[in-house]
Amino acid sequence: MLAKRIIPCLDVKNGRVVKGIRFRQLRDAGDPVEQATIYDFEGADELVFLDISASSEGRKTMIEVVKKVAEAISIPFTVGGGIRSIDDIYAILKSGADKVSINTHAVKNPELIEKAAYEFGSQCIVVAIDAARTSRGWWEVYIYSGKQPTGLNAVEWAKKVEELGAGEVLLTSIDADGTRMGYDIELTKAVSKSVGIPVIASGGAGTLQHIYEVLTRGCADAALMASILHYRVYSISEIKNYLKKRGVPVRC
């Protein structure tokens, strides 16, 4: 049976992890390779690296990071952040990432999804959707790290990216993100039920129950999380044992 995936997300800036594991045993809290190795060892199913570097220098550094991570781990990983062209995607995949995640530039240039899926295959093209609830009960897509509203309906946009060839949706609730009050179950369910591609839920994980909820009621295929793992609130094995006891298929 296909397992539900638990995916730690690491923010990287200029080649260093800025939001990552905060625990004492680490020799170097900012080393992406070291953190990736630990999560692989602890049973993460995949990893996501979000490059938040603003400069082109920082982006070049990311390519080096990708190579080193690929050499160190033997689970799949996705790289996102500022990807805007076929060349960007090729550089990342060639360096050893399994998937790329496209956000802002998928909205600005939907053709990019189509071209990328054709060139590299749908299985490595993830479209990241950041959405916030509107007062009228639907969810609006935001770009530029949640700063700019687009007028797009998140459910409709998810259907569109599937049609264009995306292989997966990484769905972040802007309302829930960083609150540790739980994922936006309704948003996740609305998107997951509307598309025929897997959906990774993101934003809001605070308790084991939250993760269970989004993978069951929320119909998510995978749960992404950052701070509750980085701050060692729970370990991956604690999360997986909890899910397993409640009948959710997980790899452990």
Binding site: L2, R5, S74, D98, F120, R251
Partner: protein, 200 residues
């Protein structure tokens, strides 16, 4: 022992390269005839689309046909699918290498596609690649699968809407629908088992 990863893919072949290198295999990515002539085994990697891969393989196709039966070959994901007679990927029927009878078709609409993530691989016959392994999780990322029309070739299956042949073996041909290079320690064991066969 020299292993060559066939160079037809636009995408992440680096992970596969690294996985073999970790096992101290002498590994190279190439589609050069001279390199192929002097190697001990060939790996067909698992990224890209069936039509694009067949197009790139065409110039060395005769070479692979000659090599079959002589040198071990390992097809991973798309690489496994290329062993079959044809595929409907991309909406047109494309001829494959035809080493194993059967055709590659799309997964049913009752499941999400791609089949993405970790799923269990259940042995149904003795298998070289799965020696000492059974019922373990491996990493999958695909939307098409092989409908095999040959007996005794399928060694393991994985359930996802249908029964997907996840390991096929025929003489010195080996294929996995999952990605061993991305499947942690059990994936590593599959690659070790392949290398042991090459060394035999």
């Amino acid at each position: 022992m020299r292993i060559v990863i066939l160079d037809y893919a636009l995408g992440n072949v680096f992970s596969l390269y690294v996985a073999f290198r970790r096992l101290s295999a002498d590994i190279e990515i190439s589609s050069d005839e001279k390199v192929l002539k002097n190697c001990d085994a060939v790996v067909l990697p698992g990224v890209g689309s069936f039509p694009a891969a067949m197009q790139r393989i065409e110039p060395i196709r005769w070479f692979l046909e000659d090599m079959k039966g002589e040198k071990p070959m390992l097809g991973i994901c798309l690489g496994l699918q290329l062993f079959f007679e044809s595929s409907v990927e991309g909406g047109v029927k494309t001829k494959g290498l035809g080493f194993i009878k059967g055709e590659v078709v799309e997964l049913p609409n009752t499941v999400k596609k791609p089949h993405m993530g970790w799923n269990t691989v259940v042995k149904i016959a003795d298998s070289t690649l799965l020696k000492d392994l059974d019922n373990e999780y491996f990493y999958f990322a695909h939307s098409y699968y092989a409908q095999v029309r040959e007996d005794n070739v399928v060694k393991a299956v994985t359930t996802y809407g249908v029964k997907i042949p996840s390991v096929v073996e025929k003489d010195s041909l080996f294929g996995t629908q999952f990605h061993p290079e991305k499947s942690g320690k059990y994936g590593r064991q599959v690659l070790i088992n392949f290398l042991k066969f090459v060394k035999r």
